[in-house]
Each structure stands twice: as C-alpha cells, then as structure tokens.
Symmetry: D2
Subunit: 347 residues, 4 copies
C-alpha cells in the first residue's frame, strides 16, 4: 500500500501515519518526494481495511499495490494452467488445447424439446448441454423455469446423448439438489457476488461455471472466484459474458481483452458466452470466432430449435444449423491459433 500525503502535510502528520502503520502490524517506509511525501507500507495488507488511513490528518489518498486475490492468482501455480473436466470420463475438458463448446437453450422447455436439442447440438459437434431449470428472471412475472422437473429432463437428455450437463443454481438451498443432477453448476452474472452461494458451490465436488458479474472489475471477479476455491472446490471455470456500458446496440458489451488478461493473472480456464455478450443471434458467430482467436478455453452458446418461439432469450439463440456451420469455422480459427475445436467423439 502507498499512502500519498497532501502537499501541505506536516512532518508530524507523516510521523502520525507511520505510528498508525506500526500499530497495524505493518512497516512504514516514508519517502520525501519533490512535491509531497508518500509512505510505502510493507507487509501483507490484503486482510486489512486500508481505506481507513484516508481519514488520518494530512493523508490525501491510498493506493493498493498487492492483488487482493490469492488462490485464483497465476503465481500460485507458476507455469501451470488448471484443467477442468465436466462429466465423469468425458472428453469435455476446459483449459487444455481443445476448446469445448457448451450449447443448448436458455431454458429447459420440456423433455422432448430438450432431448431433441441435445441430439442436434451433439450432431453439430458441441461438447456439453446447457439449459436452465431454475431461471433468474429480471421480471417477477416471467417464466421462472421448471425447477426439479427441468433437472430431470436434462438428466434424460444426458442419458440419451452422453453430453454432460451444465445448469444454473440460484440459491444455497438448491445446491445439493442441482448438484445431484448436473455435471457442472453455473453461477449467473446476477449472483457473482452472492458470496453465500459461492461458498455453497465451493463445498461441492462439482465443477463450477462462474460467470463474471456485469459490472465487476477483474480484481473483484478473481476475489469472488477465491470464495469458491477457498471453500475447497478447485474446479472453477471463469466465464466472460459481457459487461454493462453505455452501448445500446448490444445487450452487453463483450470485452474480449479480459480473456488474455485473465489468462495472465490466473491459472483458471476462461470460457466466453457470446450469446449474453451480444444479445443478438446475428452477432454470435463472429464473436465466437473472435473469442477463440483471443485465446479462450471454451464457449457457451445459446442454441434453440426454433428461436422465434423460444420461451426465453429468443433474440440471442442460434439454430443447430447455424451452430454446425459455426463449429466448422471455429475449428479453422482454433487451428490458426494452434488450438483445436474437435467434436466430443474425437477427444
């Protein structure tokens, strides 16, 4: 931590700051600059509320130096990247050379429909099936999902196709239930700082697809990932799904530079969701290709047999036909960046 003193701070004020630093069990290191003093603070201040020094007389502001996350940090696994497998014995592994694709509808709408789409996305080359049984809806009067019935439908679709299933859990009380059926628990953007839920999924042995909060910085995101890791679950898959900005032509702004940046800061694999990241099916193929070129470790793509009749997220769902063409195209882009995007059957 660096404490920047005001230009008019007195020597007594600098001494007082130094005393407080010592009192906090850290070591002060005052440096007189040309125009002002700074006090560098040595020692691990990650656990402390360093902001409080801002109120000490003569202090102008506080600058943090240490990253506030630990277990998610690249430094904890030098030269190594975490690989997360979804589905026992499955070839759906995130964080290796191959780039798996999670496809499926926003909501599980019925058993026949989820089995049908599971077959279609598998034929298209997808590696896992997504579908919401518990839906976090902005509008309280909108369809909230089929709940446990939806989970059973997903399990039936897995039975039929062999695809591992990814589905969202909304609240700690449902974690056990969802973990009973799912191969991977999804944490949605609105729950990205629902710390009790993060702890709850951290206590399971199921992989977690952890979506970035729509207004989270990367520092905040990796700290939140630490909640899951610190609870004992090492199988965290990060997921960039777009952030909230002033842009209004897309549902969110998809900031792909977070992909190489997260790979630089963390050992965790990083998936991109171009469906929520744009909100428009016509932008999904280009942004999927861009995500692969940017170095992502997987994709999550909303896919529906008949988007214009989808119960939720119709505007951003692509069809299985588009997905199939896209998979071929992704394989070519992956190859251009020395990766692969091979179908589940071949990995």
């Amino acid at each position: 931590m660096i404490i920047v003193m005001r230009p008019d701070a007195t020597a007594e004020q600098v001494d007082h700051v130094a005393d407080l630093i010592n009192e906090a069990g850290l070591k002060p290191h005052p440096i007189q600059g040309t125009d002002l003093y700074v006090v560098a603070v040595i020692g691990d201040d990650r656990l402390k509320d360093s902001s409080k020094f801002e109120q000490v007389p003569g202090v102008d502001r506080i600058m943090r130096v240490l990253s506030p996350y630990k277990m998610a940090a690249a430094e904890t696994k030098p030269g190594e990247r975490t690989q997360v497998r979804i589905g026992q014995g499955s070839g759906c592994v995130f964080g290796g050379t191959n780039i798996p694709v999670i496809a499926g509808p926003c909501s599980v709408e019925g058993e026949d429909k989820i089995i049908e789409i599971a077959r279609l996305v598998k034929d298209a080359g997808a590696h896992a099936l997504r579908g919401g049984a518990f839906k976090p809806r902005t509008n309280p009067y909108a369809f909230q999902g089929h709940g446990e019935d939806g989970l059973k439908m997903l399990a039936a679709a897995r039975e039929e196709t062999g695809l591992p299933i990814v589905t969202e859990v909304l609240t700690p009380a449902d974690v056990e239930l969802v973990a009973k059926y799912a191969d991977c628990l999804q944490i949605g953007t609105r729950n990205a700082q629902n710390f009790k839920l993060l702890e709850a999924v951290g206590e399971t042995d199921k992989p977690v697809l952890f979506k970035r909060g729509m207004s989270m910085t990367l520092d905040e995101y990796l700290q939140a990932a630490d909640y899951i890791l610190a609870a004992g679950n090492p199988n965290v898959i990060l997921c960039e799904r777009g952030i909230r900005t002033f842009e209004n032509h897309t549902r969110n702004t998809l900031p792909l530079a977070s992909v190489p940046e997260l790979k630089r800061r963390s050992h965790l694999p990083i998936v991109v969701d171009p469906s929520h990241g744009t909100g428009h099916a016509y932008l999904v193929p280009d942004m999927s290709r861009a995500a692969v070129a940017a170095g992502c470790d997987g994709l999550a793509i909303e896919t529906h047999q008949d988007p214009s009749h989808a119960m939720t997220d119709g505007a951003q769902s692509i069809t299985p036909t588009v997905l199939k063409e896209l998979m071929d195209s992704l394989a070519r882009v992956a190859e251009a960046v020395d990766r692969t995007c091979l179908p589940l059957s071949t990995v």
Copy 2:
C-alpha cells in the same frame, strides 16, 4: 411493443409477423411509414419474451412500450405515496414530510462500541441505527461480521437507546434469524438481483431497505422491488447508493436524478446513501444536503466513533460530531424544500 421491420422487408414478411403476433394472443397493428413498416402490438406483453420476434425474417428490432413492473408503479396508487415505519410505534417513518436519517457503523464491531455509537448518533439526531452483522465482503479473507452475536449487540443497542435497527441479510437461510432481531432488513447492492433472497424477505412482515444494484437501470430496479411486493410485503424502501461508471474519484457515482425519477414512477419511498455513493467522508455532508434538496425521503449515513480505526469502510464513515453538525444543516435544507428533518424525539 413496436416491431420495426427492415427497410427491405417484404409484404409477406410483414404478414408473417402479424400471424405470429396473433398466434401469441396479441393483436398486430401494421403501419406503413415512409421508409419502412412498423407493427404495433396491442395487449399486455409484459409476461412474454418479446425479444424472440427479432429473429423473424424481415424484423430489424423490437421496442418495448409498457413498463415491465407493476406493483411498484405509481399508477397502482394514483396520487398516493407509501409510508414505511421502522420500529413498532417509532417515529421513524419514510415517505412522509419528515426525512429520517439512519446512522451507524458499517460493521458491528463489539457490544460496547455499538452501544456507544448508538447513543452518539441518537444524540446527534438520527432516527435509526445501522450496523452490519453479516457482511458481504468483496474479499473472502476480509472480516465477515459477527453473525448472530452481532445481531444481539444491535438488539442491546436498541434496548439502550430506543433506536430501531437496520441490518443486512445475505441469504434466504438467514432471513428468519435476522428478522427476529432487526426492525428493518437491508438488501445490499450485490444482492439486488438475488431473486430468491428478495422473495424470502418478501415473505416476512419486516420493512425492507432495498439498495439499488450498482449497474441496474431503474426499470430493472422496480422489477426487482416487485419481487418483494409480490411476495406479500408492501413495506419496501428504495435506496439509491450509487452506480458504477468510468468515474474514479469516487467509489461509485451518485446519480441523484434517480430520486425525482423514482418518485415519478413509483409510490415507494426513496432513501439515499451518500457514504457508498461517494466512498469519501469529506463528500458525505454536501451530498447529503444535495439528496435532501433533490427530494429524498431519508438518508443512510455511515458513522463511526473513530473512522481511522474502523474495521470496515473507514474512508467513508463520518464521526458523530460531523453528523451532529450535518443534522442541523439538513434541517435547514429540508425546510427550504418544505420538508422537515426533525429528531426522533420530536416526531
């Protein structure tokens, strides 16, 4: 809903859209403009995923007309404003002429300390005591609050001072426990779209201080308020606490225009939190005055005996001395806008 067709849409495509509208149980109303067609859709489409029409051939985009919230809307109580009382028989009422102030520390740090600050803020003229027992911390390694012990300390402070207490609840499983002690349940910004938690507090009979999510539009905010209202709890107090923007001199940007806008759209009272809204104690007094002048129905102000030793949020906590001066000043501003900011003892 207005469906805007592409300039090159064919008559058949317009007819097809009209058919789909009919099929959805709504009524299409096509209008040929100079450059393009629009199809106005009549009927309540609030429950529908209207976005799906975007994928129909010939459609350019969808524009919503109806507000997506209902129970929170001003239209449901024409000419009337909801008043919410915190604490049985207490004079701490939000939504009337008087403007109550909720004051207290970020965290409950110990029994003596919370009782001391309760006395100090009461003396300063505050109407309710805030303090966190369960803390949602961005950093998993930071102090997480004293839990039920903290709730008991708050109850002791209420016992001593008569001030009603406001404290945060983080997860549905804790709602019953927190409601046993608290006079008002706080929902924090990170849980503003934790819909299961909103439903859980909606099922209690305790008033809810519901903070705006830091990247929520007002439409989203009022829909989320509908979750609480629809669960049966009419006592919702809205709270503007700042939004996330590119600004970096404050912790959040405090957009006070949301105060008159929320009063225009909703019958619910609206409180402002200038502490989180700025992140700096030195900005709190000016922004508290501005909030009152903008028409707010209450304030929530972090107050600590010794901010430079606070366990959390030290930078943004004011002292009881500053609070006392501020209360006098707020009374003058309130009077200038035909409101009052009278101490609890006198209301």
Copy 3:
C-alpha cells in the same frame, strides 16, 4: 510515480529499472516489500510518458502519484477561490457567495424570440442569457444555428435587457467573431478535448464557460482547463453537465459529487447544467436545487417560451414561469447553505 515490479522480478531487473529512472533524470527509491519490490520515483514526472516503463522487463505496472494538472490546482492559490465576472460592470459573478443563473434557449431562433425570452428570464431573476448561434449538432442534417446573425440577435437582447450573454464557439476560426459579441465563450462537451480550440479561447480576454466532456475524468478535465489557463486566460468557469453511463432514463447522468470534489481540487468556480445533465424538463427543478445544496457556484438552465415548439432541445427546456418559481425556491436552498441566489438587480 510508483513502479510495481512483478513478484518474480529479479534483482537485476530492479537495478535496470533504477538505471532507467536515473537516465530519465529522476531519482529511484527501491523498496523491498514482503511479496514484491516497488520502485518509488522522486522528481516531477508530469511531463514524462511514464507509461513506457511498463514495457521494461520485470515491471508489472505503473501508478501515478502527482496530479497531472497545475494551474487549475487548488494548491496554486491556497485558501483562495477564483471569481469570474461575466459582462463589464455586471453583477454576474461566479465563485462568490451569490449563485448566478444563466438562462435562455438552446438555440437563438430569431431576434424577436430571443429578446422576448431575455426579458422573461430577466424578470424571472436570471443573471445572464444563454443561446446558441453556432450549434454542434450530432446529426449533420439538423438545424446548425444562425451563425453571425444569431450573435447579432444575442447582442440586441443584451442591449434591451442588460443581461450579459453566453454563447458557444465551435472552432478556432470563429473565436474572434464570437468574442466580438459574447460576454462569455462557451466550450461544449464535445469539444472538451479539442485542444486547439481551448488554446484559442485561452488567448482571448473573455471568460470561458468550459463544460466537462461527457466521458472525462476530473483529472482529464482539470488538465484540459490548464490548456486555457496556460494560454493566458485566468477566467475559466467549470461546468458539470452530466456524464455518459449505462443509465437510460436520463440523457446523461448528473454526478453532483463532482461539485465538492472540484472545489477541493481546484480554485475555479463550478457551474451545473441540469438541463443537459438530465435531458428532461421535469427533472430540472429538483436537480437545480440539489446542485445548489451540493455547493455549486452557478447554474445554466435551458429556458424557452414554448418548449413544445422549440427548434432544439425541447424536451429539456423549462418555461419562464417554471424558472420564476424555481428562482424563489433556489433562493431558499441557497440560504440554507449560507449562500444567496439574489437577482441581478440586487447584486
């Protein structure tokens, strides 16, 4: 400047950074922390591109310590605030106890209309007349203003009413012309980093009403103000007019905390424009009151005889009747914060 080294940086890399600092004429001050090294740099680095050190092997990132602006900084005039008078011998002074109001239409629409509105806003108690002769329109096909004819109409309105006039200048080539007629030159938000224009108005002796760019940080804003000051013109009036955020219920988000923050950092007076700051006439009175309560030194309010027939900005213009009521109300709020908002005639 603080140079934060990577955790795995070698001693040689720290030495190399120190050499480069010395080479740049600054003084390195390496400090070994628990987890990493930082190198504090002593000496004025405001003129240097310090970002380049980021590319030196072993460096993680750079943190600036010194404020990048100089002449606009509060430190250059300790304990003193700049006062700017608009109009020779006029009582329209920004930065003193009284809070002047600049009112008038977005565009000068014709001579009779500008004289009429000038009389009306003067009667309502306003201190200066605004009106655009050169309009920066987002849309190239929209009305661009009456140019020099518009300036003459403004001069005629001043002649009739004695109100000093404020009008925008768009490009360096027009500065001389606009300065011939205007009492105060306005720089619009879209030109806030048009540095050649800032220099050009800095070379005149007319006061400048300098609007904040809609996506400018305060650091950038005060640096831009330094362009005008450094060119020799000390009469700069800052103007907060709202920033661009994700919010969509207002045209811009009006972040009033910039008012006390700018007063803390700079000696320049600060005006608020609640018209552009909200985009809706119905929000203007509440936000004007909030701006005064927040400590602003003036207001700029779009006012039109008949907003529903205005050529530009109809939605955000209030009527003279509303302005008159507002002025009475502002006088009360001003008094509550130990300021005044007295009419021109009485100051």
Copy 4:
C-alpha cells in the same frame, strides 16, 4: 417516431398531439393499446427535434424509429461495400478481401527514427505507416509533436519505403497542410464530434481514418461519418479504438461486436486499433487476432523500435519483431475466415 402517452392521458390530449404532428408536416397514427395510447408518426422526422413532443401534456416519452444517419447507411449501397485505397496506386485497400495493417509509432520522434521504423514495419509486412506530427495530448505540458517538420519526416519515410502515410489532423486550419503530405488523414477520438473538423476533411480528396469517439454510440458515430460524407468525401474508413467503461485493467474497453454491427449497418470499411483499445502491448497480439476473426477490414497497430524509450504511448507499442510474428499469425487467422493478410508487395 412513436409517441407513448401516459396511462392517464385523456382523449383530448391524444387529439392535441395529433394536431401538433400534423402541424409539423408529419402524419399521426394513433393506436389505442390495452393500457395506453401510442401515436405512430409517419414521415421523415430525421431533421426534426422530435424530443420537444415530450413536453406536450399527456405525453410520457418519445421513441425514435428511423436511423438518424443516411449516407453511411448500408441501405444507400445495397449489397455493396465501399473500398478505400490509401496512397496512389498503392495496394493498401480497406474493405476488400485483404486486411491491411497500418503500423508505426505514436509520435514522429525524428527523421532517422521514423525512416528506420518505416523500414522495419515494411519488412514485417505492414501496408502503411502511421505517426503523429500534431499530437492531441491530454496534458498541456506534454510533448505536442513536431508539427510540419514531423510531416516532412513522414514524407521522407514514404520516399524511402513506398509506404503510404497516415497522420492525424487536429484542427481545420491545419487540414490543407496535413493533406499536402499525408495519404490519409486521421481524426482522433477526442475530435470525433468536432463537426467543423469533420466538414473540413470532408472537403479534401484524401481518405479519412475516422476513429470512434470513446463514448459514442454507433448511431452517433455513423451520423458523424455523415458529416464527412455529406461534405463530398466518400473515402471514410471507420476505426474502432475502444470505449470508456468502468473497466480499469485496460486503457479502454475494446468492444469487438461493433465490427460486425458496423458492417451490418454501414457500407464503410472498419479498422480496429488494438493499441489504444487495450493500452498494453502484451494484449495487442491476441486482440489483433480477435479483430481479424471478428471480421475487421484492417488494423492500426502502434509499433516502436524501443518502446521503453518512446516519447509517447510506450506502454502500448509493440516492437517490429513482435509485429513480424503477429503478421504471420494474422495471415493464418485471416485465412480461417476466408480473408487474407498478404504483405503490400504481393497485393
């Protein structure tokens, strides 16, 4: 335009709105919905200030239907994309199958250095040379560029290498001078709504590399492009360079979905600037690849012989060695999306 009436609007108020629409030379089309009236307005309202209807009694809000831009719109050239060549007889063409790369330093630092870097980027495979002679610096005390001398140095570098040159112009008075030397005029992000400058470059016959404003929506961006096009210059190259958001790990957020969206809305070619789009050299290669995969028509990449000694933008400049490797990699990605990124010599 759609005028949404308030739920409590009277029939008289609807009639009054209809009268005002007629008066404005447009055609009203009232539609009674279940909960409220809307009035659809037929006729070209692009030139009108439709916002003013918001102030008419009974009106809730206004929704625009028509795109406000014209000449930049895809509809004006159905099925056709504009190609822009930089440099007479040069193979540097934007908008075709090949994807040219503009490379070079932020600032022209001296004649020897610019010639050296020109040779190096040409050898690496770049298609054009960039370099600033007039620099728009946020800080008034920072290096402002070599002016006309810098232009001469660029011309010398073109002489030596045959590379066409791209350089920024800051103000209308300099347009003639810069156009005398440059093959392509760059408009920077801070001048993206400097309409007088847009008109001035629109009156030349030189291609314009027109960077998006850092807080511009795409609608605003294409309207600004219309300023150049409407002044008579059809050779506009759009350039996405990142937007301002809450993210702080990059200098800007690079929203690559604007690439396919701009190609959908406009016939103009679109270049991406990953250097300003990220602010960090280590993110440039990945984001360059992502931009090509997203479908961009060109790249602008800051390149410097010795970034840690660059006069400006050192942190985001890559070296010629990195550029050379990147060009090979871009060729592979381009091929994967059925484009090419062939060196200048071969096109």
